[in-house]
Structures are given as structure tokens and as C-alpha cells.
Amino acid sequence: MSTIEVKKITKKFGDFVAVRDADLTVAAGEVVCLLGPSGCGKTTTLRMIAGLERATAGDIVIAGRRMNELPPEKRDIAMVFQFYALYPALTVGQNIAMPLHYEKLAKTDADKRVRKVAEILHLTDVLDRMPGQVSEGEKQRVAVARAIVRDPNCFLFDEPLSRLDVELRHSMRGQIKEVLSGLSKATVIVTHDQLEALTMADRIAIMRDGLIEQVGTPHEVFARPANVFVASFIGTPQMNLIEAELTGFADGKAEVVLAGNAVALRTDPAVGRLAAGKVTVGIRPRAFATTPAASHDTIPAQAELIEPMGAETLIHARTAAGGDIRVVVPRGQRVKIGEALHLRPDPRQTHVFDGAGKAVRA
């Protein structure tokens, strides 16, 4: 069975802790994305799985076998590198055939495998060229071809699309997803691009400062972020995270002083168990409705900057306390600069985070 289990692994470089107690399980056929800002430890985690870095503590179990002590060549893992890492002195075809060379496969069988993989990734025409003579997109596909040419325990991708332009990235995302779905292997993809993670992953693990903050399906991490960091990291435009003072809870509504106004917002009932004090209220820009008149559950603000985005319009609105709220309204709704807005958040999409930044949910 092609599975990856990472149990409480920690990596220290001197005094610096790059990864702390990371837990991750990837089932056969599942694609998990490690998502996070640069320097969060996601590549280090991947390299520990690959065996290129040694874990300071914890266990790495691949295909049911503990592999901490095994060197990379014994782990039977295929990896695609950010800068492709093609062998510069070999042709595209020889590059793809390289992993088979070490498997001591018969020449004709190896050729057959290379041809088949080249066909899947549309590389048949460039097999005889050198890596320096093919386009960036082709290099990327050669790297993928080299990974899928044999039958490894699992696949690892380190920022596979970061060097491609927007259009290529879009088409490669689809191609890689398609190729992976036919292989039923455990796959880990490292990326800092949330769109890549949301589109390619079955589950996403969001990392920050060496910690895995949340693991969940793309839908879960978007709809139910576990903490302020995940809430701010996933979704464009970014979720509004507004500092507020919780004063009470009545009738399923949290009474908060938010941006200088006392408002009552319908939230998750678990907020009722929270003691009064500082909280962060998170509302996605698309979760606001504008109402013509002020009400006890609306936030007053003034439109300050208007950015049409095509299908929708992004409004930066200023609250009485000087905070900035991003609101996305449909294209048809005309808003003028300076106009007073009354914003009513959608109660199902209003997240309350406690003083420590953790989401408060039932």
C-alpha cells in the first residue's frame, strides 16, 4: 500500500526549529498539499519524507515501514523539484530513463516505459533534445515524467509550478491532477500558492513557523478555518479580521464592540460559552450584504476605494474607528466613493476567534 505517515517529526537546524511535532497521514491515492508562506518548514517536511534531511525526532513511515534511517535511494520515492533538477548532460529521454537505469530494467522494457510516459506528457517530440534546449513548460513535464516513469511508493512535489507563467501553470495544474488520479499513490505537494493547493489537493495541511496549523479538505479549511492564521491565509480577497470586544451573548447573538460600534452578530452558539474580552471577528469580503439603513446587526462604514474586478467589485470601506473592511459586491451594485454603507454579515460565515486566535465553534 502506498501510504505516508509522518508522526510528530521535528527538525532542528542548530537552535532553529524548522518543523515542530508535525503529524500528517496521506492515504493511498490521496493528494495532500503542504501550504504556507515561505520559510514555514513545508519544504523541510517534504525533504524529511524524501530522506534528504534527517528528522531530529519523530517517525516517518512509508508504505507501512519506518524509514527514518534509510537513505533516499532506498526509500523508493519519486520527487519533482522546484527547479526540475534535470541532468544537464543527458537528453530528455535519458533523463526520463534514469530512475529505470538504477532498477536494472531490460533496455527494451525501459524504452517502452519511457515512450509511454512521454506520450502521456506530450514529450515524444523532444526526447532527443538536451534539457537546455526545451521550454520551461517542457522541462517541468520532463521532471514529472521522470517521477512517474517507475512505480514508487509515493510522489513528492516541491513547488512544481512556481516557475511557470500563469497560463502554463493553469494547464499543468490540470495535467498533473489528471496524471496523479490514474496512479493511486500517496502524493504530497508543497506550494505557497493557495489556488494551487485548493485546486489540486484532496486535503490541505497549512503550515506556519514549523507548525501544522490545520489539516482539512479544501472546503473545510476555507469554510471552517481553525485559527486566525488559516483564516487570513486562505481566500482572496483576504478575510476581514476585525479586533473586537465581546461584551455578552444573548439570543444566539454575540454582543460585540466592533470598530467603535456596539453590534449584535448572529454567530456560532459556542461563542456563548466564551468569557467577555478581546476576540477577533472574521468575515469574508463576499459574506456582507449592504442594507439601506443602520440596524443593530450592521457595521457602519464609508466606501473609500473602489476596485472593479470584472464580475465583482471590491470596496475598501473605512469604519468609524479607522479600520479597513474589504467588501465584495456584485458588479451590478453601484457604490460611490464616500458613500455610507451598512454592512450586514452573513451569520453562517461569521467566525469568532478567541484571544489566542483559535476559532470558537461548537
Binding site: 525533504r47 524524501a50 530522506g51 534528504l52 537513505p71 533516499p72 535511494e73 526509500r75 520515492i77 519519486a78 520527487m79 523539484f81 522546484q82 527547479f83 526540475y84 533538477a85 534535470l86 541532468y87 544537464p88 548532460a89 534514469m98 530512475p99 538504477y102 532498477e103 521522470r146
Partner: protein, 314 residues
């Protein structure tokens, strides 16, 4: 050439934007500069075909032929191969029979000593450089610096202790001794040069090879080495030229059997009390140039890549 282009452009002085695009005007200037630099070598080669009297003539005789009387006789010499034959065999005392000068042996010595020691330094230095580059030790830079300091002293400063050590170890006058010394002499810059070539390589490629199943030895031999062939060639040629031309250590540490050409050359032209035999000296020098010239010539494609390595962004 397009209409409206200036006289300079028509002469080839247009802005070059790529290899081979510089016009022949540039080529002429480059040729002139090369000629100036090559002139001393040219004079040596010409002199090697002159007799002593012609070699000392004022004004100098430039050409071996008068081009059917076009050039006045004062500037023309009669080419002779006498210098070349007397490199290997001549009479040491006027009137005596010609005897072997030992230069065949010296050339053999120079070739063996230089190539063995440079190859040895290359083998050891490349491994060391790979280690310094890929598995840095605590205080890596200090080690590298210490290695370099061995080349900071002029040879003359260390020669006396080296002679004493060689004598004590029984190495003076032996091939092993001088080869060991030259190997040590070549190691510092071999390590430094090869380290810079290894540093330029992307470690990702090696990691990829590891994941593809290669052992550490295969990573070094099959992935890294093929990528630094140009560097190996450049380092080999630099080392060869340095060792080939080395005089001081060779003078003091080689014996009669292991004498190299620079030492032999010194003794051949200085003796006899009849002044420097310029023709003979030039002939030895010309012969001495040939092996290094050939090596450089056959490695020139690698050399160009070697010396420009790292100047082009990947």
C-alpha cells in the same frame, strides 16, 4: 550593408549583440593586440632557426627568406636546424666528438613529473573540493584558508626546510620526491578551483539522483563529475603550466636522472664561458612549448567553458 550606415559600421564596427556578430574591424584589432602579445614567442621561434652570429646581429634579421629579393639581405637569415640537433647531441668541448646532452631524458622527466603530479593533485583535489563543497565541516572556511596559506610564501622561503626534509627522508633526486612536492604545490589551487565549480552546481540535481536510486559514489561520478569536465580541464591546464615551468624546486631537488627541462636549459646555455647560446636556448624553448601547446589546443573548448563558468546565469 544597409544604406545610410556609417563608414565605421561598414568597416565592421557595429554594435555586436552576440557571438560571431562582431565585424571584421574588431577582428583586425583583436589580431593586432594578439600579435603584440605573441611577439616574444615569435622571436624565440625565429631565433631557434638562426646561428649564433645571426641571432646576435644588429639590426636583427627578421625573415628566413628574402621573398625573391624584395627584402634587403641585412634582414634575412639562413634558416638552420643545427640548434635543434645540438639540443640533444653536441660536442661539449671545441673539436671533440658530439655527445648526448641528456635532453631526451629531461623532456621525458618533465612530461612524466608534470603530468603525474598534476593528475594526482587533480584526483585528490577534486575529491577534497567535493567534500568541502558538499559536506562542510565546522570551520570549513578556516580550513580552506589554511590550505591557501601554503601558497602565500614565496618558494625560496620554504626551500631550505624542504631540502632538509627531503634529505632526511631520502627523497632528494627521486621521482617520488619531486612528484610529491609538485602534487602538494598544485593541491591548494586545485581545491579552490574545483570547489568553486562544485559550488556552482545545483544540489537539487544530486538530490534527484539520490531519489532516483544512485549511491553517493554514483552521485559523485555520474552526476557531479560530468558537469565539471570543463573545470577539470581548466584546472589541469593551469596546473600543468605552473608545474611545467617550475624551476627553483626542480633545480634543488632533482638529481641527474630526474632533472627537468627548465633546469637542463639553465645548465645548457650558461656553460662554456662563451656567453649565452641564444639559438640553442631558443630551440630548447620552442621544443619546450610544444607539449603544453598541444594539451591546451586539444582542451581549448573545455577551457573556454571552464574560464567563463559561473559568469552566465543559469
Amino acid at each position: 550593408m544597409a544604406e545610410g550606415s556609417s563608414i565605421w559600421e561598414r568597416l565592421g564596427f557595429r554594435r555586436a549583440s552576440g557571438v560571431g556578430e562582431a565585424g571584421w574591424g574588431h577582428a583586425v584589432i583583436a589580431g593586432l593586440i594578439s600579435f603584440v602579445y605573441f611577439l616574444p614567442v615569435l622571436i624565440i621561434i625565429i631565433t631557434s632557426f638562426k646561428l649564433q652570429t645571426e641571432a646576435l646581429a644588429v639590426p636583427p634579421k627578421f625573415l628566413p627568406t628574402s621573398f625573391f629579393g624584395l627584402i634587403p639581405d641585412a634582414y634575412v637569415f639562413t634558416p638552420t636546424l643545427e640548434n635543434y640537433t645540438s639540443v640533444f647531441s653536441r660536442s661539449m668541448i671545441t673539436g671533440a666528438a658530439a655527445e648526448n646532452t641528456g635532453f631526451d631524458r629531461y623532456f621525458f622527466n618533465s612530461i612524466v613529473i608534470a603530468s603525474v603530479s598534476v593528475l594526482l593533485a587533480l584526483a585528490i583535489g577534486t575529491l577534497a573540493a567535493y567534500g568541502f563543497s558538499r559536506y562542510p565541516l565546522k570551520g570549513n572556511d578556516t580550513y580552506l584558508f589554511v590550505i591557501l596559506t601554503t601558497r602565500m610564501l614565496p618558494a625560496i622561503v620554504v626551500i631550505i626546510p624542504v631540502i632538509l626534509m627531503f634529505r632526511a627522508a631520502g627523497l632528494s633526486g627521486s621521482y617520488v620526491g619531486i612528484i610529491l612536492l609538485y602534487t602538494a604545490f598544485n593541491l591548494p589551487f586545485t581545491i579552490w578551483m574545483m570547489k568553486s565549480f562544485f559550488d556552482e552546481l545545483s544540489p537539487d540535481v544530486e538530490d534527484a539522483a539520490r531519489l532516483d536510486g544512485s549511491s553517493e559514489a554514483a552521485v559523485f561520478f555520474k552526476v557531479c563529475l560530468p558537469q565539471v569536465v570543463a573545470g577539470l580541464a581548466a584546472t589541469f591546464v593551469f596546473g600543468l603550466i605552473l608545474t611545467w615551468n617550475e624551476f627553483l624546486f626542480a633545480l634543488l631537488l632533482t638529481g641527474v636522472d630526474t632533472r627537468t627541462v627548465p633546469v637542463g636549459m639553465n645548465q645548457a646555455v650558461a656553460g662554456g664561458g662563451i656567453g649565452v647560446l641564444w639559438g640553442l636556448l631558443a630551440a630548447i624553448e620552442t621544443l619546450f612549448l610544444i607539449p603544453v601547446f598541444l594539451v591546451t589546443f586539444f582542451l581549448q573548448n573545455h577551457l573556454l567553458r571552464g574560464v567563463t563558468f559561473g559568469t552566465v546565469k543559469r
